[in-house]
Amino acid sequence: MSAHASHAPNRSGLWDYLTTVDHKKIAILYLIAGGIFFLAGGLEALLIRLQLMYPEIELVGAKTFNELITMHGTTMIFLAVMPIIFALMNAIVPLQIGARDVAFPFVNALGFWLFFFGGVLLNTSWFLGGAPDAGWTSYTTLALNQYSGIGVDFYVLGLQIAGLGTLIGGINFLVTIINMRAPGMTFMRMPMFTWSSFITSGLILFAFPAITVGLVLLMFDRLFGGNFFNPDAGGNVVIWEHLFWIFGHPEVYILILPAFGIISEVVSTFSRKRLFGYSSMVFATALIGFLGFMVWAHHMFTTGLGAIANTLFGLATMLIAVPTGIKIFNWLLTMWGGQIRFPTANLFAVGFIPTFTIGGMTGVMLAVPPADYQYHDSYFVVAHFHYVIVGGLVFGLFAGLYYWWPKMFGKMLNETIGKWNFWTFFIGFHLTFFPQHFLGLMGMPRRVFTYLKDQNLDMGNFISTIGAFGMTIGTILFLINVVVAAKSSKRAPADPWDGRSLEWAIPSPPPEYNFVQTPLVRGLDALWVEKMAGNKGMTPAEPIGDIHMPSPSFLPFLMSLGLFVAGYGFIYHNYVVVVIGLLLTLGCMFTRSVKDDPGYHIHEDELEEKGVKA
């Protein structure tokens, strides 16, 4: 216990990032990796739209089209938006609750590297015999050996490794939020983004084991001759659908709740008002999380579960509109009478509200079982989920990135480019997906690689593809903005937006120990309370002293690398490689277990500044 080193291990550049356990650096890793996968998924989307721009063209062909739609969905959900959510959670949640660190810094790093290697494994399928082509839902029997190629093996193993990372990341945030809040930071004083991250982490904990099992069963069927989904040997394909959606439906709330949290923060800050109906927002978030687990079979109305099951799941689904409606009205009432400003972050937040409402409305339409028999597997469904996931989550993520960029990187994003980014992306989005509602109602099925001429589908598809160019331009403008911000020499102030919550009480970017002194929280919107009381900053809850930090470690990287190697062993049925990979992982676990990490101390006189400033 007494063998603490007194200095931070000296590491820099790439080696620093490969070994870091600092949640703020892990946030940046998540953002970069998630951003790259977002570009890959976007490129896939663009190819899909180009193939569908005109009727009866052969740009990519049917086989590649199947791979593109599968990889677009899988990449965007698992490898792009979830990691970017984790980036914001890592960057902001510990700051918002006044914590020095997360509960498990080592596990946090491990979670990132597992996600990263799982994603890389999945994407190498493009170069190693073909990407998965059974749809992002990978329904059996289509996903079994008879009907689909080696790509599905990459899907099964890549998602399994990435999913493990997400699961342990979720546990880390649950424990952090329960155990590591600053004095006075009661649950009902937590900012909405922290609340939504908390509920999302709970959903991750209970939803991901279901897909873990589903993927294991599919893997056993494909690699070891199992019969779970083989009807000839007594198997049952509907089991896959249940397991997939018991995970998959909560997953959409895992995605959207953090966006709700971001919108709540942004709308309230830029209306210069406290969030309207804070406690009803908390209640609505928890209720949505709970109901999210009760509705999975609405993805399966047409599988023949029967009228009773369909009715119950339909009604449960419609119930979710109630807490969601509470949220929408609370955001509108937060703006009501506020001193509203419209920097890019708030543009995205305000653009989110009507867009997400449309997506929610079509969701209620789909929740009516008899109507769903008509909409099922048509472009109407495609339009609906893109309205909630892109119009909801991606708008929310953009809002969050513009809002917290100065805190994460210490540089402001350019507002002029930002506004161009918003308008091209916003208009492009609606141009892309609004016509798809009508394409669906006119009978265009999803997952088809082409359509016939003169069936009233030409114009809608053409407009939709033009819209996709708009979203592409918006994304490129964002990248330009990132470069411009990185090159600019102007430092962001600690509190550029006149913020309300604790993250704005410390410098941008924050020092590695976050808070010099743990702050004392005296109300909701902790920093705003102090500002209104005329104080210069937070009141400290402890005297200045040495700060204990965890040591960086290369083990999370190696552990994940081991599973990555073992994954290829399974895919190519080479069990020597499997054993080598697993031994590497288990060896790292062994090392971690027997070698205690005493960490190191940052001494009082090395702290960069005394006291917490506003």
Binding site: F206, A210, G214, N227, L243, I246
Partner: protein, 208 residues
């Protein structure tokens, strides 16, 4: 509370004496929540497929009460000895902890040996992974549990070896506590396997 002399006088409930310890205990309970969903999904799959023998051996023709009863006895007794280890932990008595954990490990190894014998026996009777949907579901559910037992045994042995050098401290105490918690959990899962797989499998007939 946990100052530099913590190893001299160990506090009460040493597994929760530090923030790290508290975090580990809470995090591990949450992890077990996730494991519950994992096993729940496997149970649901097994129940859906338990009568799909595809012309191969059925649960009624295979299962042997004597073997399963002995295995159950071994594992449930090991659950008790792991609780004794936890009680010894609260008395801060490392020798007693080591003794009870050694008994736990031996009982666990006995259980594992019986399970391996059982699987080999079934394969010889013609029940392979690829025989039927029932066989796939059986080997997956029971095998997953067996893998958990094997992992638990390795974990406890590793802790015992490293504790001979490090002793009982606020760093090692949470590890002992969690290993016992984990062991208790996989015993609880076995109670469900015993009921759902074996008892219901021997009686036969459709469920749910």
């Amino acid at each position: 509370m946990a100052n530099h002399h913590a190893h001299a006088v160990l506090p009460d409930e040493p597994e929760k004496a530090t923030l790290e310890g508290k975090n580990k205990v809470l995090g591990f309970w949450l992890f077990l929540g996730g494991e519950t969903v994992l096993f729940g999904s496997l149970f649901a799959t097994f129940i859906a497929l338990r009568d799909q023998a595809n012309g191969g051996p059925t649960s009624q023709s295979l299962f042997d009460m004597n073997l399963v009863a002995v295995a159950t006895l071994l594992l449930l007794t090991s659950s008790m000895t792991s609780v004794m280890a936890t009680l010894a932990l609260h008395k801060k008595d490392l020798k007693k902890i080591q003794l009870w954990l050694t008994i736990t490990v031996l009982l666990g190894l006995g259980f594992l040996a019986l399970e391996i014998y059982e699987f080999v026996h079934y394969v010889n009777e013609g029940l392979k992974m690829s025989t039927s949907a029932f066989s796939s579901a059986f080997y997956t559910l029971v095998g997953f549990h067996g893998a958990h037992v094997a992992f638990g045994i390795s974990w406890i042995i590793l802790l015992q070896v490293s504790a001979t050098k490090k002793g009982l401290t606020v760093v090692t105490a949470p590890k002992f506590y969690l290993a016992c918690l984990y062991w208790h959990f996989i015993d609880v899962v076995w109670v469900f396997i015993f009921t759902v797989v074996y008892l219901m499998g021997m009686i036969g007939g459709k469920v749910g």
